[in-house]
């Protein structure tokens, strides 16, 4: 567990003045991840997206550590290149200190266009942490559906219309895909619980190999809610078990948050404009399916955690 006293000594490496929206979850993710790294030098790579364009508008930067961006689909390959350069230069005695490597990508850059690059980098075993700040759609280009967009959500490319009611497919389970890579550390977490996230980043950075964190990151614009509700909303995702917080260390599952009372998914959905249409009478079936999916997934995850091993 991280403690505030130690964290207060960590340097702020993502500074204010960036151009992310008020209430944006991505800024919180970046700042807390860097605080988690403490005084350890870190080099960051990022996919093209909100985080990158809002924090590095030339000639300004919000990053006090080295930050590199080249394209959308290659944050993982990029990070693997930096990490390999480090390995080479360190082996040759040209770099003496320890440096850690973090790659950021949104869900579009991670679940979809960057999946190959991510899979390749994880399989190759680079010592790097990949953080997917998952806001469940292509928000930077204006809320288009991604592989992470949940069933029923309205997006501009799977919109609600006279015939269709938002996305008609389930989101893919990227966290499980990463578990299947047999990497040392995989975790799922959410914005709104600094201790859960920071502890996971610290664990991830301490393993000698690749690690992956999938963090649910509300997007005020794309999810259409009040900007002050970012933390609250993400917590509801965990309390409804729509987005469980868990980790998989060397294949062993552990649930990090078990809600005292499992709330109905509607508690989470009703606060967001992207799900507004689901509350029409004729869409009651979609709500039922969402609840059923969540119940099944939660049941399965609990069994995995109980078994203490990969099922």
């Amino acid at each position: 567990m991280a403690n505030l006293k130690d964290l207060s000594k960590s340097p702020e490496r993502v500074t204010g003045g960036h151009r992310l929206c008020a209430g944006c979850g991505a800024g919180i993710v970046a700042r807390q991840a860097m605080i988690a790294a403490g005084n350890m030098p870190v080099v960051v790579s990022s996919a093209t997206g909100c985080l990158e364009v809002s924090t590095t508008v030339f000639p300004y930067t919000a990053w006090k550590n080295s930050f590199f961006h080249s394209a959308f689909e290659n944050s993982a390959a990029t990070c693997s290149g930096i990490e390999t350069a480090y390995k080479s230069l360190k082996k040759q005695g040209k770099i003496m200190e320890d440096i850690r490597f973090i790659a950021f990508g949104g869900d579009g850059g991670t679940y979809d266009i960057g999946l190959q690059s991510l899979s390749g980098a994880m399989e190759r075993g680079h010592r790097m942490l990949y953080i997917c700040y998952n806001n469940e759609a292509y928000m930077n280009t204006g809320i288009q559906r991604s592989g992470a967009t949940p069933l029923g959500a309205h997006t501009t490319t799977a919109p609600v219309g006279k015939v269709h009611q938002g996305k008609e497919q389930n989101k893919k389970d990227l966290t499980q895909i990463m578990v299947a890579h047999n990497i040392p550390y995989v975790a799922q977490t959410y914005v709104g619980n600094w201790n859960d996230f920071i502890t996971k980043v610290q664990k991830a950075l301490s393993v000698d190999g690749p690690s992956f964190i999938n963090i649910l990151t509300p997007c005020r614009l794309g999810w259409n809610y009040k900007s002050e509700d970012t933390m609250f909303l993400a917590r509801l995702a965990v309390e409804t078990c729509i987005w469980p917080s868990f980790e998989v260390e060397h294949g062993v599952y552990k649930l990090n948050i078990i809600p005292k009372e499992k709330k109905p998914v509607t508690e989470f959905l009703k606060l967001q404009g992207r799900f507004k249409h689901l509350f029409k009478l004729e869409n009651a079936l979609i709500l039922e399916i969402i609840q059923k999916n969540v119940d099944n997934n939660w049941e399965l995850l609990q069994r995995k955690a109980l078994a203490g091993c990969q099922i």
């Binding site: 006090k64 080249s70 290659n74 080479s88």
Partner: protein, 400 residues
């Protein structure tokens, strides 16, 4: 083959791919990231064996695609490493997005590129469609006539790229050079290492004392200046390339320029070409000269930057010129080399030579001395006024 005035290396028989790998061993970059593709596979295959045997200190990343190969090479270079890669054809196509980023970020990456046709239809043999398509990507492009040139060009490319702060690719023609065994002089390791020197980047990501942001979003207020600087760097790199060639000549005895003139200064008819076909043309030129025909050849070595000012001076006295392109631009106009030659002549106000364009050898289609003789015969007719030059692309050895 460009003759050496002295020989200090050992004379061996090697293929184009083998000598490119050999150059990489001697350069010993910090990082190589690559993905296999015919006919370039051998280069990185041989190199990864050097890594496996501990012969080089380099780290090798066996990436999952060419897009990631170029991404990882770019990242390694930005991190402060001397970084190299190699590819061909579809691989270069998959790198396309990243090629522009490598040059836009001014990273001195060197790539061994084996020219191969582009799909569809699928074809693994040699033509220059791949790198010609990348001619506007901001990479310095150096072409090789044979294995010796490929080896020499690779060694020079490191110095050129790092001085110009521009990525540089060195090509060979697929199979014709890449897989053809030739006599090559390899230089001693110590000499090559001394020539390429130690890489010292001004700024790099792993410099924790001076961290920095690279790859920012660059809007209306700065983007244009950065792109202008890139274009200017390409123009300025001509002097760098010539200076590196001079140093190379001093050290290794082989002379290189932006292009090579063969029996050219008094030529009345001439062919302009790139790559291995120059060797075939030289044989024909010698035969024609014996018959008293003033034929010549101009072989372009450096296509990017295009030596626009110098080349028009040399071409200005020739009566009829045929530009042979081993790539078709499918533009409805003309093929790449022809377009650059003619616009350079026109811009310089030179209107004496009649210039015609031939596309040849796509997908490895044979080009032999008979085909070349035919071209010179037509040039002779154009030069004497018997035949009018065509104003469209002509094709050699194709069934229409």
């Amino acid at each position: 083959m460009i003759k050496t005035v002295f020989s200090k290396g050992k004379i061996v028989a090697k293929t184009g791919n083998e000598v490119m790998a050999e150059a990489m061993r001697q350069i010993e970059p910090d990082v190589v990231a690559a993905y296999p593709i015919t006919p370039a596979t051998e280069i990185v295959q041989i190199f990864s064996q050097f890594v496996a045997d501990g012969i080089v200190k380099s780290e090798y990343i066996a990436v999952e695609s060419e897009h990631s190969a170029m991404s990882a090479t770019i990242a390694a270079s930005a991190a402060g490493a001397r970084a190299m890669t190699g590819t061909s054809s579809q691989g270069l196509c998959l790198m396309w997005e990243m090629l522009y980023i490598a040059s836009g970020l001014r990273l001195p990456i060197v790539m061994a590129e084996v020219n191969r046709a582009i799909s569809a239809p699928l074809n693994i043999h040699g033509d220059q469609s791949d790198t010609m398509g990348a001619r506007d990507s901001g990479w310095i492009q150096i072409y090789s006539e044979n294995s010796q040139e490929a080896y020499d060009n690779m060694i020079q490319a490191i110095r050129i790229a790092e001085k110009a702060k521009l990525p540089t690719l060195v090509t060979t023609d697929g199979f014709i050079i890449s897989h053809c065994m030739e006599v090559v002089e390899l230089y001693p390791d110590a000499d090559v290492k001394a020539f390429v020197g130690i890489y010292k980047p001004e700024r790099y990501l792993l410099d924790t004392k001076r961290p920095y942001t690279l790859g920012s979003v660059d809007l209306q207020d700065y983007y244009f200046e950065h792109r202008y600087q890139l274009a200017q760097a390409m123009r300025d790199s001509k002097d760098i390339i010539l200076n590196v060639a001079k140093d190379f000549e001093k050290m290794f005895g082989r002379k290189y320029e932006m292009y090579e003139k063969f029996m050219f200064d008094d030529a009345e008819i001439a062919i302009v070409v790139i790559g291995s076909t120059a060797g075939t043309i030289k044989v024909v030129v010698e035969e024609l000269r014996e018959k008293g025909i003033k034929a010549g050849l101009l072989k372009i070595r450096v296509f990017r930057p295009f030596p626009t000012k110098q080349i028009v001076k040399d071409l200005s006295h020739v009566k009829a010129i045929a530009v042979l392109d081993r790539a078709d631009s499918c533009s409805g106009a003309f093929a790449p080399i022809y377009a650059d030659i003619v616009s350079s002549l026109y811009a310089a106000g030179i209107t004496i030579p009649k210039v015609v364009n031939y596309v040849y050898g796509l997908g490895g289609r044979e080009i032999n001395t008979k085909h070349i003789v035919d071209v010179y015969e037509i040039l002779a007719k154009i030069a004497s006024g018997v035949q009018k030059p065509t104003s469209q692309v002509e094709y050699i050895n194709v069934r229409k």
